[in-house]
Every structure is written in C-alpha cells, then in structure tokens.
Symmetry: C2
Subunit: 357 residues, 2 copies
Amino acid sequence: MAQQEVQRQRPSIHDVASHAGVSAATVSKVLAGVTTVKPENAQRVLDAVELLGYRVDPLASDMRRAKRRIIGAIMPEFESEFFGQMVSELEGFAEQRGYTLVAASSRESEAREKEILARMHDWRVAGVVLAPVRNEHGPAAGFMKANGMTGVLIDRVLADDAFDTVSADSAAASAEVARALVGQGHRHILVVGLGQQAATVRARLEGFRNTALDLAPDVRIDVVLCESDVEPLRTLLRDYFSKREAGGDRPTAVYSLFLKGTLVALSEFRRRGWHCPNDISLVGFDDAEWMQVTWPAIAAVVQPVREIAGNAMEVLFRRIEGEGGPPRARLEPCKVLMRESVGSPGSVPHSGGGDRQ
Amino acid sequence: MAQQEVQRQRPSIHDVASHAGVSAATVSKVLAGVTTVKPENAQRVLDAVELLGYRVDPLASDMRRAKRRIIGAIMPEFESEFFGQMVSELEGFAEQRGYTLVAASSRESEAREKEILARMHDWRVAGVVLAPVRNEHGPAAGFMKANGMTGVLIDRVLADDAFDTVSADSAAASAEVARALVGQGHRHILVVGLGQQAATVRARLEGFRNTALDLAPDVRIDVVLCESDVEPLRTLLRDYFSKREAGGDRPTAVYSLFLKGTLVALSEFRRRGWHCPNDISLVGFDDAEWMQVTWPAIAAVVQPVREIAGNAMEVLFRRIEGEGGPPRARLEPCKVLMRESVGSPGSVPHSGGGDRQ
DNA sequence: CAACTGCGAAAAATCGATTTATCGAATTAA
DNA sequence: TTAATTCGATAAATCGATTTTTCGCAGTTG
C-alpha cells in the first residue's frame, strides 16, 4: 500500500540523478542541452529519464525565473465563435513555444477584467493577451502599465501609447460594405452599433460613412447605438423602425457593427415579417457558422482570427524577449462575404423568393 | 533606474516580514488565519501587507503541496456556444474556491487529448474536468487511471468504473422529442448522428426509438451516422434524400443528435428548396442563440450547461478532498424547446409561412 | 528552587528545479 | 617538475512560499 503510494509519487530530478549516478545539476544540464557534459554521462541521464518516465515539473522549473512560461489571455466572453476560435489559436501558438496559456473570461465587465489581470500578475505571467471589454483606455490596461506588465491588446482597440495592438481592419472592411450596399442602389442605410466600444465603432462607422458619402453624396445614414448592454437595443430598434415606417422613409439596408446586433436586427425583421433581401438587406460585422445555412444566408464581415492571434503572439514574444521600440498598431484585413441577405432595394423576389414567400 | 527596477520587483513574504519586524513564518500564519499569533503582531503584518501591496505568489505557494490549486479542463473544441459556456462556468466555479482553471482544446483529437492530459499531469493539477472526444473509454481516461489522477468526465459519457461522470440526460430528452414528433403525426423520421460518440448517440437513439415505437408501432425510423468527421455527413445526407425522394418515401421530420448535424441538415434542406416546417420538420440536439432568430426558429434540446458544470466541479472537489466510494454517474435533465421548425407532416403553410411574428 | 507546562515566534527543512561557485583531475605550458 | 589552464561535474545558493522543529521565556507546580 505504502509502496504503491510511493510509486504514485512522480520522480524528481534527484531520483533521475541518483539512478544515473550523477548530480541533479548534471541532469538539468543534459535536459537543457548543454554540451559540456561527457557523452557517456549524458546517455546515462537520458536512460534514467526514460526508465523512470521523468518529466520536468513546469511549476518548479518556473520558480526561479522572474517571468514564467505562462501566457495569460483575457477575453470578454467565451460563448461566441470569434473568441472561442481566438482562444483556441492563442493556445496553439503558446504551446508551440513551450508556454502554457491560461485563459479567463471577463464576462464583459471591466471590474472583473482588472481582477483577473491582478491574478495573472500574481502568477507572474510572462505576457498577457488582452481583448478589452471597451477599449484600450480601460482600467485593465492602466493596471498593466502601472505594474510594468508585458502585453498585447487585441480586437476592440485601435492603437495605444504603451502596448502593441492587433485588430481587424474594420474601417477598410466597412468601406467595402459601403461600396457593396451603395453599389446595389441603397440610399438609406441604418447602422447599428454598441456605444461602449467607442473607438472601434467609430472606426467602422467612419469607414462606412466616408466611403458611402463619397460614392453617393445623397445617401442617408441613420445610426442606432446602444450604450452598454445588448438588451436595450431590441427596444431601440423597435422604436426606430416604428417611427421610420410611420414616416414612410424606412431604410432599405442595415449594417450591424457587431454580432449580437445582427441577431437582434434579424429577430426584429422577423417580428415585423420583413424578409431579406426583398424587404430589407442585412450585412453584419462578424461571421458565424450558421449564417450560411439560414434562409437567406447572411452577408458578413469575416475577421481573420488566426492572423490576429498569430501576430499578437508574435509581437508579444518579441516584447517578452526584450525587444524595445515604440508600440505598433497592426491592422489585419478582413474578408467580406456578400451572401443572399443583400439585394437591391425594392427588388422582386428572385427564384424561390429567398425563402419562398 | 536601478531603484525603479527594484520597485518593479514584487515584494516577497520576507519583505513583508522584515517590514513588520517578524519572521516569514509568522506572516504566512497570519495570512493563513492561524490564531496563535499575538494580535499586535498580526496587525503589524497586515499593515505591512497593505503598505507593500503584497500578494501571495500562487506558484510558490503551490510548490510544497502534492496537489496544486489548479484545475485542468479539456474540451473537444472552444468554438461552439456549448463548450464556450462550459469553460466559462467551470472557470467561475474554480475561481470561487481559489483555484485557477487551465483550459485546453483537444480539437476533436484523442491523441491531442492525451498529450494535454500529460502536460496537466506535469503541472500536478489537483483535478481534471475532461469532456472526451469520443467517450469514457478513450486513451485519455486510461492515462488518468494509470497515473492515479483525480477527475470527472462530462458530456459525451454515460458512466465509468473509475471516474464520476456528469452529462445531460439525453435519453429522456430524446424521448420527449419523440413524443412531440409522433404526437404531431410524423410516422417517418430520420435521425442523424455521429458514430464516433457511440455511447451517447446510442442513448439518444434508443431513448428516441423506444418512445416513438411505443407510441406508434408503425413509425419508421431511418438512421444516418457519419463516423468521425462532419464533412462526409453532407454527402451521406444528400445521397439519403436523393434515394428517398426517388423512392417516394422521404421522411417528414429530422432529428439531429448533434449541433453540426443540425447545420448540415438545414443546409441540405436549403439546397433542395425545402422549407421548415412545411416540407419537413427539424429538431436538433443542442441549442444555439441564432436558432430563435432564423426563419423559422429551430426547435432544439437545451442542455443544462450550468448544472453540468456545477455538479462536475462539486463532485470533483469532493474527490480532491479525499472522499471515497464508487464513482457516480449523474444525469442532468434537459429542456426541449419546440419552435416553429416543427409542424405536422404535409401541413399547409400557415399565415405568412410560419414566420410573420 | 528545580522541573514542568504552554505559548508565541523564530529557525530550519522542504518542494523541484536552475544557476553560480567551487573543486578535483587531467592537460598544457613554463 | 611545477605552475597554470581547462574540462567536467558537484556542492550550494536560490526562487517564494509552507510546515515542522526548536527555542526562549513566562507562569505553574511539586
């Protein structure tokens, strides 16, 4: 019984050392690839490692260094495809370099964001990938700055004076959406956004508006912003459409600047019995798997998740290794997938009616 | 400069000790809540902690114990709402008890699953929540057993002789779906599943079949299983429907046993121009946010994610604390949301095609 | 008054690795 | 032959906590 318990106990570097008839320091050196070890001894160490099934304890190994081989990732949520993919990619890149990724969800709360960051600081993580709830100027980024932490900001950020940033080029993507919609003949478009993410929303809005006005100076762009939560948007949108319908000047297309907005817009269309693209066109920022199997398929801006994750990790590790220089703001190009939810205003149903009546 | 560097360095327990004029052991005891410390000294310690902004280094703190305050979570993927929510919930529960959750995605690979598990074993995690790719008999569970790890298996599992399991009561939910479909008059139903998850699929299938046959002995149930990947399903389903349509005996309803199957079924309907529920009814296992905003809204089985996560953590911590006894298999009840994608076979479109409000 | 009991706190061992300082033997140079 | 290098490896310090052991002092007791 006690014997089994002992067997359960994992071998330490000292067990390996005594089995190989050398010191622990020598074992450590062999495993680290130092070449000043006699080949004969090195072989005995490797044999002992094999025999005992020894593996380095990463926790003990990290004890001595100031920066541990841990990367922290903080996302606003885990429930969406976008952040799910992001975490998955980040994990892969961290693993490639022998780092462990610890991911946490701030649940769209800046307070929680900061708490999580403090905990990661306690762990003395080597670096942090932070996707802030609002933008780059929140308390979390301040905390990182104040404590000299290494990090990258992603997604809902534009540029920062202390940290590198990596995000989708949403202004360019929005411009492309504008070209598509105006090109189809739309002259009255509603843009739906989340006020909380001021900077990102502004970039998307400006990218859209500038291009649209450039192509058609007579275009009318309405904007509906909900401040913090998504729930109020439902009401806002309902009121907006009621008013516009009463006035007889309702928009012929909607561009939603965030995923939940697309869902809310769709369900509002649904409530009113409007069909895409016959009654109204719809484009959403952020793609999702289901968008291509619905009637109709929803047009969307696809963010380059893998590229964002890869570049974020790349720049993060460069900073961890001590690279200096001013912070850089990277923008990764998006793809715009124009699906059937977009048509010309007032067009008659094409074959099958987009959803047969 | 050097001064600033020193300031950057976080204070250790010894810094606190010397500031308070006591030994490190005393500081540790105060922070652990030991009462045998003179109140006066305790106060001085707390003041020093406050002054220096001291926080315990969890890594160093964990060094001495055999089981560290880390919980590992292994999910087949992070991209779906289900596992995203699951990780989010697990993280919350771990945090409540002062543990850190390290989540990793096996990316639907059993080999990777085992590798991740080995890495978590290296970290000497206190326990693991494993959502296996296939079922409870995979190599990962074997590894856990062989190494005496503490763990719970969730989701794609039924029961195990070594580990506690927590999963959705999919048999009961499937029975409810059967009652609904048969009750609506369906007598020819296609069930779509993933062969890989043998046990779970069998439970769902049997739950469905038994109840359906019980209610209507003349009901015909076809089954299309794809083995490992989802991609082949597209072809399988296409062939199946082609054959059935040629034979003039195509099913009037589809019950998909997993989320991606629901998506594939929908897109196949779409390709053929079939509409729910007029041309065919659809129910899917696993709910998603988008299902209630599409035309029509898709009926789905909702898994009790929070309950599964909560119970998994509960039983895991009990085992960590040394509770003995045989492993228990928990089943959590699901909710079935019957939305508009389900109707009577051959029913005519109701007003507006089942979607105008 | 010596021995005993307790209390509170300090000293030291421990966890499992890495890294620096040290040391002995073999080799080379003077 | 002796001193100076060089090489390989070991002993010891270190990281930052926790836990066990030891210790000094005050108060009791026989």
